[in-house]
Each structure stands twice: as C-alpha cells, then as structure tokens.
C-alpha cells in the first residue's frame, strides 16, 4: 500500500499543515482585493503570500517555498534525502514564469525552465536523482501523486517527495482576466451567483512510501486515474466525460456510502462547477457530500491537488466535513450535497477531484487505515 508519511502546507493561512487546517476549520480565508498590484490595470481578488517575507537572494519565491515546505515535511521523518532511493516530483503549471518579464533580471534566464528550477531544489537537498516535473495544468497536484504511487509500486524508489507549487504573477492573473474567468469578489463555489475563480499562492508537500501493512491512523493513497474529455482545450465537457471516467476508476468497488466527501475542484467558474455536478451524478455519487477549498485559498494551480488532499486528510482525522466557504444557494443542475458549514462524519475515505485546461481530469481515492 502507498502510505503518506509526512506532509506540509505553506500558504497565506499558515506555514504548516496544522495551522492551515485550523484556519480553514475556523472559516478564515486569505482572499483580498488587490487594486493596481504589479501594474495590472484591473483589480483582482487573490490569496497571496507577503512577497517581502522572502529575502533569500539565491532562490526565487517559488523555489523558497518549495524548499521550506519539503524541509518541514522531511523533518517529520528520518528519511536520508541524499539517497538514490528517494525521488522528487514537483507539480507546477508556471514555475518561475515571472522571469519572462523584461524588468526581472535578478535571476539567470535559464531558471525559467521547470527542470532547472527543480534541480535547484534537489541540489539544495543533495538528492542525486533527476527530478520529474508534472505540468498537467490544474490537475498537476493529483497527477504528481499518481506518478508517485506508480514509482513506488514499481519498486524503483523507497520514498517519493511530491511538492506542488505556484506563485501568482502578472502573467497568470492577466491571462485569467483575459479569459474573463476571474471573480470580482471572493469566489462562491457551486453557488447560484458564482462569477468565477480567484487565484492563490501556495506550496504543499506529501511524502509517500510503500508498506505491506498499515495501522488504522495511516493514510493510504488507494487508486487514482487521469482521463481526458476529448472535447475542448479550454472548456469543460458538457457530459463531464473525463471527470466521470476518472471518478469511476477512483471509486472502483467501494460503496459510495463509505465516502466522507468528495473534495471537488469547485473553482466557482460557471462551467467547471456545472461539469463536476454532471460527472458526480453520472458516477452515482450525488448523495455524497461535496466541498471545495477555493473560498479559503483561491485556486493554487500546481499546488491545489496536494494542498487540498492534505486539508482533506486532516478533516477526516478531525471527523469533519469542511464547509464550502462562499457557498450559499446551490447553482448547479444536479442536486449536489454542498454546505457552507462544517459537519461531523465518522467515515474514513474521500475522493480528491480536479479538472483543467487541455480537457484533463483526475481523481484520487484516499483511505485512512486503507480499504478494509
């Protein structure tokens, strides 16, 4: 079984997983309105780290939060990170893309390449392996975990360090603005009045290993799948095709009643949330509680799949189904079970669901103590 041995989240809501979970549980959000930031002509709402807090001139902010997040996760273990049996997988959509700006000249241009950025990280830790970077749009964080599971199953490595990261910049914000995808207010996942998404900064790390036996408190990554809509490069499928197919495989023969919740992508764009409602209904999971983390963190892109998996594991540990911040009145076609309040649960499994540009979708089944 593929088991989580350590995790960490660095976000505007905290610099470890426990701080982040406590903030989310109490309903905190780092979403703020920014007007004139980075010279952007339109205001936007986002969850941003304080840029002034990153003073290490050797590394970009992305690299600094990746290194900090992995360091904090590693400290919970006795892993020899310099061993060739440890693999690093970085999940990111845009990495150091801000370096394309002609006014940015502190770092060498080659650092814009994701592989060079990732090598800075492995070099920092003295890990000898070539790092793999998963750059599969907004589903990267779940894909990176599925890759980790496969590498461990094949026996090539003893530990895989998965770290998801993205840091917002004028490049990303203006792009989503040009798409008319950003909400002018704090986002409202699955709500009738949702107007789009907010973006966010974060890095999040999970370290996985393979074990023959697990105890009741250990988290097992059971199975995951990645599926394409084969429909459109920037619009979700009207039949939720890829998301439905990924969900079906992640669920497998598990009875839906065993799921505490589905932690959906829930970006709060009109099309994404509607598509997810169709996919969840098609997969026979309309009765399972659904929540979204985007009202707390915004869309943290390459970090989202890792960060939201960690928050969801902690919620199950705490016998809690987290409320969907920003949600008020259901505004999707299929009757999903969504609430803005925390609710109690004694169930021990959940599914993390994501979808992204390029028509890609991913689902991952996590079970505390493994599937019995």
């Amino acid at each position: 079984m593929i088991v989580c041995v350590a995790h960490n989240i660095i976000s505007p809501l905290g610099s470890n997983s426990a701080e982040n979970y406590a903030a989310v549980k109490s309903g905190k959000s780092a979403l703020r309105k920014y007007d004139g930031l980075w010279g952007l002509p339109e205001p936007f709402v986002a969850s941003l780290l304080d840029r002034n807090a990153f003073t290490d001139k050797r590394y970009t902010i992305d690299e600094q939060i990746v290194i900090a997040s992995i360091s904090k996760a590693l400290k919970q273990t006795d892993i020899d990170v310099k061993s060739s049996k440890v693999l690093f997988i970085i999940s990111t959509t845009k990495g150091n893309v801000f370096l394309l700006d002609k006014n940015e000249n502190v770092f060498p241009q080659e650092r814009i390449r994701l592989g060079v950025m990732a090598r800075e990280v492995t070099k920092h830790f003295g890990n000898p392996n070539e790092p793999i970077i998963v750059s599969n749009a907004c589903i990267s964080g779940v894909c990176a975990q599925i890759e980790a599971m496969r590498y461990l199953e094949s026996g090539e490595y003893d530990y895989v360090v998965v770290c998801g990261v993205d840091v917002q910049s004028s490049f990303i914000v203006s792009g989503f603005q040009s798409f008319k995808a950003l909400s002018p207010v704090e986002c409202k996942p699955f709500d009738a009045n949702r107007q789009g998404l907010n973006l966010g900064d974060a890095a999040a790390t999970i370290i996985y290993t393979k074990k023959d036996k697990v105890n009741d408190n250990e988290w097992v990554a059971c199975r995951g799948a990645i599926r394409n809509d084969a429909n459109h490069i920037s619009g979700p499928s009207r039949t939720g095709e890829g998301s439905f197919r990924a969900l079906r495989i992640a669920l497998g023969d598990l009875e839906p009643e065993k799921l505490a919740f589905i932690n959906a992508h829930g970006t709060a764009t009109p099309y994404n949330d509607e598509m997810e409602s169709i996919a969840i209904e098609r997969a026979g999971l309309a009765g399972v509680p659904v929540n979204s983390m985007k009202g707390y963190y915004g869309h943290t892109m390459g970090a989202a799949g890792v960060l939201e998996t960690i928050i969801s594991m902690q919620a199950v540990d705490d016998h809690n189904i987290l409320g969907t911040r920003g949600f008020d009145t259901l505004g999707v076609t299929h009757p999903l079970v969504v609430s803005n309040q925390n609710r109690a649960t004694e169930k021990r499994t959940f599914i993390k669901l994501l979808s992204g540009f390029g028509g890609c979708n991913a689902a991952l089944l996590m079970a505390k103590g493994g599937l019995k």
């Binding site: 994701l114 592989g115 749009a137 090539e156 989503f176 599926r227 490069i233 540009f357 390029g358 028509g359």
Partner: protein, 185 residues
Amino acid sequence: MMKHSVIITPEHVLVDGNPLMHNEKGSASLTELYRNHIGDYPKFFKMDTLSKLGFIASELLLNAEGNRSFEPREDRAVILFNRHASLQADTAYQATIQDPDNFFPSPAAFVYTLPNIVTGEIAIRNKYFGETSFMVIDDFDEKIIIKNLENAFQDPITKSIIGGWVDCSDEEHFEAKMFLMEKEI
C-alpha cells in the same frame, strides 16, 4: 512494446526509421507536413508550435499504425515529456502584456501557455478519453521516459500509449521523438 516511432526536427522527418521527404525547413516544414499528410483538420493553424509538432507526430504515428477509425476509446493514453514546457507560447503571451501602454492580454495566446495542451489536442482529434499527461525533465533521457510510460500501464484500462518527447524553444527550434507503445501481455 514499441510499435511505431516518429522523429521530427527542423531538418528531418523519420517514420519508423525511414526518411519522409519534404522541401521546407523549420516551421514551414510543419505546415508542409500538415498539407501533405493530414490536410483535413484546420484547427491545426490555430495551434502553437508545440501543439503543431506533437499533433503532426501523432498523426504520422497513427497513419503508420493504419486502420484509423476515430471511434471513441479510453484504452489509449497520451503521455509526453519535454525540456522547455510551453516557452514559445509563454514568450508570445508575455509580448501581449510587456508594455503597459500597449497592454492587450490575448486569451487565444494564453490558452497555449500550458504544455499539456498538446496532449489535449491529440485526445480531441482522436476521441481518446484515456489518460493524458505532460511532464518536464531538463534533458532528454530515454530511460526516464520509458520507465515512466511502463509505469503508466498500471492504470487498469490503458493498453497503449502515444508517448515520448516533444520540445520547442521557439518557432524554428523543435524536436519530436514520439512513439506508439503497447502493453506487454
């Protein structure tokens, strides 16, 4: 098991090791390949260079496989690697926002600033509902790529993969080394 392979550079095209003749070099060679070997998919002209390159390589692979049906299927994955992610598209998009006095961010350019879009283009063309994935490593390394694709057969449905390397740093510098791989039974 490797079934077919395609190599495309600005100078050469090889299908299963045999040179495919063409007159143009560089980016014009991609358009020539499209006109000579595909021709019925005008969406091609909207694509960024990375997507054009991956799309043409996939078409040449699938023509080599033969019996194309375009029936929807879930058992074929598209898993590609490269070095420069979406750098050509990123640079093109950055040019639309670089100058504050001429700030017109282009959604058509922005959508290609993700390297996995090429895997989506191939899935859409062929109605593949299977896995699509994109990964970056800083140097081409066949061992890493083959190992990763072999791992991908752990998926319960995947039986074949369009996989390999598809890289482009700008419109005139690109390299595809893609292949069609089938699960060992």
